[in-house]
Symmetry: C2
Subunit: 305 residues, 2 copies
């Protein structure tokens, strides 16, 4: 019997060199698909679609497999190099300074969806080119729950395609800066409402980093979920994808989002982000357990009670 | 029978000229004592200690009186001018650009506490010179509940006196920027914990504007209360004092803060701040009712549920 994932995820696979005031880590495991999949793996079976070169260390694929992530959708291109990103967070823990981006094999990425991945109930489109997000969305068919993330880069460079993705999405993730940029609106509440009005997804989840997250639903529905009080922010890279992983993991266990469960889903996302940032790369996920995640979700419930 | 206030409040009384993208309002009613007292007046009897010149319009004192605020502690100095401040919020709705500060009669303010005000259960020290806050605190005696606010200006100019006030205070209000500046610590959670460790008040309430508020208590107790989703921020002047007014109004009705009621108290503060910013000066408080406030507190309860 072939593996049918709960979530089919497509996104970047990277080797990151990251500098924070806690030091520099070279060529460590990164990329939106990695952060998302590792995060979601605690609650869901994930099928990962991505691309790497043959320089991608075997220990990384082993780690992903050890977390139950299916790699049939991971393409390894012989003789090619994996996407590399380097950046630092020395001035502001909320915003990276990019030093260097080498797209390498990611530049010509064409996601191929394994047959059994098409049966997944949920599709997560991490921040890849909107035109590729669109292609995957169409290939997956209309019955799956379509969730997308984006990044500021595409808001400027591929806005038309991005809007088409948003029109098709059931759930949209964005961060505060992206929402402001996309709507040209400094007030976040107005920005969120404008996006809801324009694209009418079921939910828009606005991530605000240390200030938590806002949920926008239809008919003016709004929720605000505070961040977990975290003192030690070692490396924020991938926090947004880890947040999405927590939310979609919750969906895999509890069904689609609705006005009654969306706050709880966002708490799972918040919990995953709060663990992730306490170490470089995905290191904080190595020894994490669902029990520890649920303990933190309980703390988050109490936090604003 | 003489009037005994629930709260004795001391702070500035001002005529403000404020410019936001909604326009300019000249010489409108302002000052920390005014915002605080008006806000608290919906739940508590307030005795106000402040100073104005004889240019202070009678309609302003009438408005305060109409809200049940006792003005026996308001000194009117003949031939002198009221404190004037002018500023704008054109670039950032969270931070004022000060154009001009004319202290006038406020420069030589020496708070005098009417005899019956000394019987108030709660003392609120709005942002006046820390040495004056200290003097009032000592005169009020040790049995009253001592709550203080501050402003960034005094962190730089009167740090030693400010620290003495903090040492005596039961509850400290600060905004996020002030907490970061005071502790030289970019992480707000760490900043809050440092202030708790150093001064050991019962509670530290950290105001984060559009991102809500954090509560720090003893033994690592933390709560996070989101802001009310407000699209129309017309004039943020006095939002912090109005927040304090909501919290202390709650205290007047429900007794001192404790770990079980502090979140609810902060919701009252949040509600008052959210009303205030929708109009210039204290205009949003003119037609406000306790019923409307409680409706908003209920919405805030739901917001993070």
């Amino acid at each position: 019997m072939s593996f049918i994932p709960d979530i089919t995820a497509v996104g970047s696979m990277a080797l990151d060199t990251v500098t924070t005031r806690f030091g520099t880590h070279k060529d460590c495991l990164g990329g939106s698909a990695v952060y998302f999949s590792m995060s979601a793996s605690f609650q869901a079976k994930v099928g990962l679609i991505g691309v790497v070169g043959d320089d991608f260390p075997k220990e990384h694929t082993e780690l992903l497999k050890a977390h139950g992530i299916d790699l049939e959708g991971l393409e390894v291109v012989p003789g090619a190099k994996t996407f590399r990103w380097s950046g630092s967070y020395l001035n502001d823990v909320n915003a990276a300074d990019t030093h260097c981006t080498m797209l390498n094999v990611f530049a010509t990425f064409e996601p191929k969806i394994p047959e059994n991945y098409r049966k997944a109930k949920t599709l997560f489109l991490a921040n890849i080119l909107p035109s590729l997000q669109m292609k995957v969305m169409e290939e997956m068919g209309s019955s799956c729950y379509k969730v997308c993330d984006t990044m500021n880069f595409y808001i400027n460079s591929a806005r038309d395609e991005l809007e088409k993705v948003f029109e098709k999405a059931d759930v949209i993730f964005m961060n505060d800066g992206e929402a402001r940029m996309f709507t040209d609106c400094p007030n976040l509440i107005t920005a969120g409402k404008k996006i809801m009005e324009r694209f009418s997804p079921e939910y828009l989840l606005l991530k605000k980093g240390e200030h938590g997250a806002l949920v926008f639903g239809r008919n003016g529905f709004i929720k605000a979920v505070p961040a977990f009080p975290t003192e030690k922010v070692v490396d924020p890279t991938g926090a947004g994808d880890s947040f999405a992983g927590g939310v979609l993991g919750f969906i895999a266990r509890n069904g689609r989002l609705n006005n009654d469960n969306v706050t709880e889903a966002v708490r799972y996302g918040t919990a995953m982000g709060s663990f992730l940032v306490t170490a470089f790369s995905i290191d904080a996920f190595r020894d994490l357990t669902l029990a520890k995640i649920e303990e933190r979700v309980e703390a988050l419930r109490f936090l604003s009670k």
